[in-house]
Symmetry: C2
Subunit: 288 residues, 2 copies
């Protein structure tokens, strides 16, 4: 099997490492506009060779793990280049624009739209690790638009990597992911900004920061190159979620301001349900 990985960061690199373990005889070719990343990936050993678009002609599988703005520009040409029985899948955090971009492409049936909900706040080839996808959810969009045999090839890989597969349409994906992922990033970035601004002249104050702050602000370490185009492509949903978040913060502020500490208590108490939610226990109790 010949596999081409386009984009050798955390996501692409972790796919490469998993594929190397599962298919020791596969040949992995790396493509990246950053030549340092190519060299690093080769040194780490998760690709066998540096390649260019010529490698696409004979590939059996192409993993496209590049920022979503570059994705919509490159994806049509990638599909143009691949052979009939090659499956191309992406890992982008937005799905509507990507699916729309190649909706009428002659090789639409070679493409599977995927969003593995996996990552860390680190990036680049050195951040990649085998096991990143184990136990994680992979959202697949418009699965019916992909040739059956090629669906199977990609889905088999996801299952072998230990992923749980979920199917959604691109619009629903983008709407919900704004809440459970994109908003968290903005919340963390703005928390980091607020604290850095306040404490700019008192650096030792961060000695006071505990694991709670560290956890809440963790996503503010994320890559702006990756996240700027995500917010751009999912603008409407992100704005809506942000508006509701700000509204809730404003109302919490009002309650503190007006000494409504019973209200404060009740809101926190209700939100404690997040414990059960994160454990995967249903929100509402059923009778049996």
């Amino acid at each position: 099997m010949e596999v081409v990985i386009i984009g050798l960061g955390l996501i692409g690199g972790s796919f490469a490492k998993g594929i190397k373990r599962l298919h020791p005889n596969a040949t992995l070719i790396g493509i990246d506009t950053n030549n340092d990343h190519l060299t690093e990936a080769l040194e780490i050993g998760f690709i066998d060779a540096k390649g260019d678009t010529n490698a696409l002609k004979t590939a059996d599988m192409v993993v496209v793990s590049i920022p979503v703005d570059v994705m919509v520009k490159q994806l049509p040409a990638i599909l143009d280049a691949v052979k009939e029985d090659c499956v191309v899948f992406d890992a982008g955090s937005t799905k509507t624009l990507i699916c729309n971009t190649i909706a009428n492409h002659p090789k639409r049936r070679n493409f599977l739209a995927a969003h593995p909900i996996a990552g860390t706040e680190f990036s680049g080839p050195s951040a990649a690790f085998d096991g990143l996808y184990d136990g994680k959810t992979n959202i697949i969009c418009e699965v019916e638009k992909t040739t059956f045999k090629l669906q199977e090839r990609a889905l088999k890989l996801f299952q072998d990597l230990g992923m749980r597969i979920r199917y959604m349409n691109p619009e629903a994906h983008d709407k919900h992911i704004a809440y459970v992922s994109h908003l968290s990033h903005i919340s963390a970035f703005m928390l980091g900004k607020t604290v850095i601004e306040e404490e700019k002249n008192e650096h030792d104050i961060f000695d006071m920061a505990g694991s709670g702050f560290e956890s809440t602000v963790r996503l503010a370490k994320s890559s702006p190159d990756m996240w700027t185009p995500i917010f751009k492509q999912n603008k409407d949903n992100v704005l809506k979620s942000l508006e509701e978040y700000i509204k809730n913060l404003e109302s919490f502020k009002e309650m503190i301001s007006e000494n409504d500490f019973e209200g404060i208590y009740n809101q926190m108490n209700n939100t404690n349900r997040i414990k059960q939610i994160l454990k995967g226990i249903p929100l509402t109790k059923t009778l049996d």
Copy 2:
């Protein structure tokens, strides 16, 4: 040594476990208004006996780890009850009101105001563990108002538990802790609330939530009994930090709305400095 622990939750229980390890011959007496917690603490074994205020008369050390609203009510009576050479320290997340409350108490010099920056999102005796304080910061306020010998006894314990000691005045503590701790909790609670509200009819959406959401929302599991009085006592500082946070979120929203993605990129890029900050590397580079 006789030690009385008032409040047998995560904080008090973790002190008790550490003291038991460091001083195997110490007698630990537990006091808690929740009788189930008393029984649980006795079963876990981090206290030797249930006690009441009588136990204070002979205690050499009293750890007060109760919500800060109860603290300001109880602390004067606790100090009334202890003997001349007993040290009483607290672990409250606010310091100004606590210090003011006992400022003129005849036994002021028996009290050491402390805030160990340590905790998890869990509470109660079962959440307590030895090691919670290892490597953590402990903020001490108005250390000069405590008898030297009693300062020493408490500080020795903190050092033996592996804590880094920092000295501040209560007002500075409350101002800065609003940013590096209290604001994180509000940010997380409101993120949890926003997502639960949006997704109330679509529970399986939480399958889409990854470790990023989990990390950012983690503090929304915290106890409202503990946090409501903290926000009340630190109202002015909390309101100020919340105002600045909301202002930053509003401006980020504006930039997305107006397609100023260069601005979005720059804000995230600047905030990436949080990586270095959390690693303890100075914010600004010096020449040598």
